[in-house]
């Protein structure tokens, strides 16, 4: 290859370098819009108000009576499980311990799982 004029090689080489660097800068700038997207998506994805709402209604249901033909507490808690599964895409499990002679506080064991977020709590009354 001796004797070949090498000038054109430099032009092509520099062309490569310039296009690679443009490619790189374009990627870096492009990634910047994604930052805002992931922040908002993370907020939307975490079911903060869903969990708060389910927790509040479970605690409320704990203090309903379960007497007579109405069986309010059982019905309400079954409604919560069914509606959570079909409308909020989440599995809610709850089991409650009413106050006894030795322990005057009621406690509820709450489990919430919507496939992405899992929340477990043992709530005790004051």
């Amino acid at each position: 290859m001796a004797g070949l004029k090498d000038d054109a090689q430099w032009i092509v080489l520099m062309g490569f370098v310039v296009s690679f660097s443009l490619f790189f800068i374009a990627i870096v700038i492009n990634q910047s819009t994604v930052i805002g997207q992931t922040t908002a998506e993370a907020v939307l994805e975490f079911p903060k108000d869903d969990i708060r709402g389910v927790r509040d209604v479970i605690i409320q249901s704990e203090f309903l009576d379960n007497a007579g033909i109405f069986k309010n507490k059982t019905n309400v808690q079954n409604d919560i499980r069914t509606l959570s599964l079909s409308r909020q895409n989440s599995v809610v499990n709850l089991s409650s311990t009413p106050p006894t002679a030795g322990n005057p506080y009621s406690s509820i064991d709450i489990h919430y799982n919507n496939g992405v977020t899992v929340y477990n709590e043992i709530w005790r009354s004051k």
Binding site: A8, Q9, F20, F24, T39, R55, S125
Partner: protein, 372 residues
């Protein structure tokens, strides 16, 4: 053969490709260098959202040197406030406490922007911001911060909230008659007692709320709330037939006692110097401290500002004894008269009975946070 072919040997191309791949991989580690040049615009909405959550859903936090359970809004030194938060408690998001709101927007207590940036905005970048709160029924919003810009982008969030007000009571002639707060004998020093049962107020039953989780929105908290007690129609408690002349009446003393949990002994306490003046006579605008002459109209109000009872035991009981001294110089001998007096019956209970005490009310409001 011409001389201008852009010929490249294969090994050169291979070597160059490997070099470029390595170079690109190293270069993707470089964006850290660009952080100084990054656009902050994308971040503004996230910062505004976070600030909105901290203000509306968090009750705030005090610094590490504060002892006891005192809330941040009654701290005098701003170093004792670690984080702002306007919610009544952790279990009651979106219900704001009126005292926290007043303190947050107080421009003499905290200065814009440093005090707020360290306690609610957080982060290294010195964001400028504007936080506005407008309650339904008010004309102008309360704001802290710069004016929101028109011509460049800013991050924004809007939150709807309720503001919890304070409780008060007015003991007038209907209540005096209904409870029998009038003695039948003639006494020079008539005592009227009020009881504030903190333990019952904080943990007792408050009515028909069936969700014990969110009841802090309706509770009276003597530790941090403002308590207003008005006593009117005092002249109606006298026996004007037996004593037709107008006597001199003054509030000679107000004594405070508290009990501690599990201990039924009474311990006297006095208000600290900052809260010394809490009596308003005849709808006056300056606060005085007893002894004070009640004049001829004989109306008095006691306004216990937030923090007045902060040194008392949260689960004890507070007793307030007012002593009225009544003299008629035209009567000889002066044996006193009937007046407002409940030593023969039970003290006035400042509790959740709607007939006796006006309960704290919730008013709607909207808060906007703009960050740029």
């Amino acid at each position: 053969m011409t001389e201008d072919y852009g010929l490249m040997s294969i090994d050169f191309l291979v070597g160059f490709t490997i070099f470029m791949i390595t170079f690109i991989w190293v270069a993707t580690l470089i964006p850290g260098l660009f952080i100084g040049l990054q656009s902050h615009t994308i971040d503004y909405d996230a910062v505004a959202y976070r600030t909105g959550v901290i203000l509306v859903e968090d009750p705030g936090a005090v610094g590490p040197l504060v002892t006891g359970n005192q809330p941040w809004e009654i701290q005098n030194d701003k170093r004792d406030v670690a984080r702002f938060g306007l919610a009544v408690s952790k279990e009651t998001p979106r219900i704001l406490d009126e005292n926290k709101v007043n303190r947050f927007f107080c421009s003499t207590a905290f200065s814009y922007p440093e005090d707020y940036q360290k306690r609610v905005i957080f982060g290294d970048i010195p964001y400028r911001f504007n936080i506005s709160l407008l309650a339904v029924g008010e004309d102008t919003p309360r704001t802290v911060g710069d004016v929101v810009p028109d011509n460049y982008p800013y991050g924004y969030i809007r939150r709807d909230v309720k503001i919890k007000g304070s409780s008060n009571t007015t003991i007038g002639k209907t209540m005096i008659r209904a409870h029998g707060y009038n003695n039948t004998g003639n006494v020079t020093f008539n005592e009227f007692r009020i009881v504030i049962n903190s333990s019952h107020l904080l943990t007792g039953d408050i009515g028909e709320i069936v969700n014990p989780n969110g009841d802090a929105a309706y509770r009276i908290n003597p530790n941090g709330d403002r308590i207003i007690i008005n006593i009117t129609d005092l002249d109606e408690t006298r026996n004007k037939i037996a004593h037709p002349n107008t006597p001199n009446v003054n509030l000679s003393n107000v004594k405070f006692y508290q009990t501690h949990t599990g201990d039924s002994n009474l311990y006297a306490f006095s208000p600290v110097a900052a809260f010394e003046n809490y009596v308003y006579v005849n709808w006056g605008t300056t606060a005085v401290k007893p002894p004070v002459d009640l004049g001829t109209d004989r109306n008095l109000s006691m306004i216990f500002e937030p923090g007045f009872f902060s040194s008392t035991d949260k689960y004890g009981v507070i007793y307030i004894n007012l002593t009225f001294e009544i003299h008629d110089p035209t009567e000889i001998p002066d044996n006193g008269q009937q007046f407002l007096n409940n030593t023969h019956t039970r003290p006035f209970d400042y509790n959740y009975n709607h007939a006796n005490v006006t309960q704290p009310a919730l008013t709607d409001a909207v808060m906007e946070v703009a960050v740029w």
